[in-house]
Subunit: 72 residues, 2 copies
DNA sequence: TAAAAATGCAAAGTTAACTATACATTTTTC
DNA sequence: GAAAAATGTATAGTTAACTTTGCATTTTTA
């Protein structure tokens, strides 16, 4: 799943380490999620969105799941 | 983490099985999430919220995480 | 331009989300 | 009131999120 984390970090000049500490995970976790190696948990997604004062839907891109929705 | 899934299901008279099928998980997964045995993944949270035409934040209760937010 | 900070990336280990199966109890429907 | 549907709960197994460690490269700062 795609997300805007790297983009939001750069806009606000926040390093991976600072974000990682703020949301209580390791830098490696932030990196992995940024590059799409895996998807954030719901709690982490919320913490990240909240850190940027955005909703989860504004940070994470669910458009690749819409297909399944339309298949219902 | 708390959520409004059982409540939303009952309002709309949708069984666990029907919801499970609609969001591509087993009934056991829905049950476990409803009773708080574990937290939904981000993708599943999105699918469930979307099924009810709500945002993730409207279905899942993150208030137990606010503490951490305020500690920043 | 050297030092410090930030990023990239990789691998092994742990934990939590989810599946599959199964059976007992409760609720709904006919 | 019997059958069918829905729910509760439990357990063993798989997969994916996340940690930990470590080191190499790039970018920033003094």
């Amino acid at each position: 799943m795609k997300n805007r984390i790297a983009e939001l970090r750069k806009e606000r000049k926040i390093s991976q380490s600072v974000l990682a500490d703020a949301v209580f995970v390791t830098r490696q976790t932030i990196t992995s999620i940024e590059v799409g190696k895996y998807t954030a948990s719901l709690e982490l997604a919320y913490r990240i969105a909240n850190y940027f004062n955005l909703s989860i839907e504004e940070v994470f891109d669910f458009s690749d799941l819409e297909v399944l929705k339309n298949e219902r």
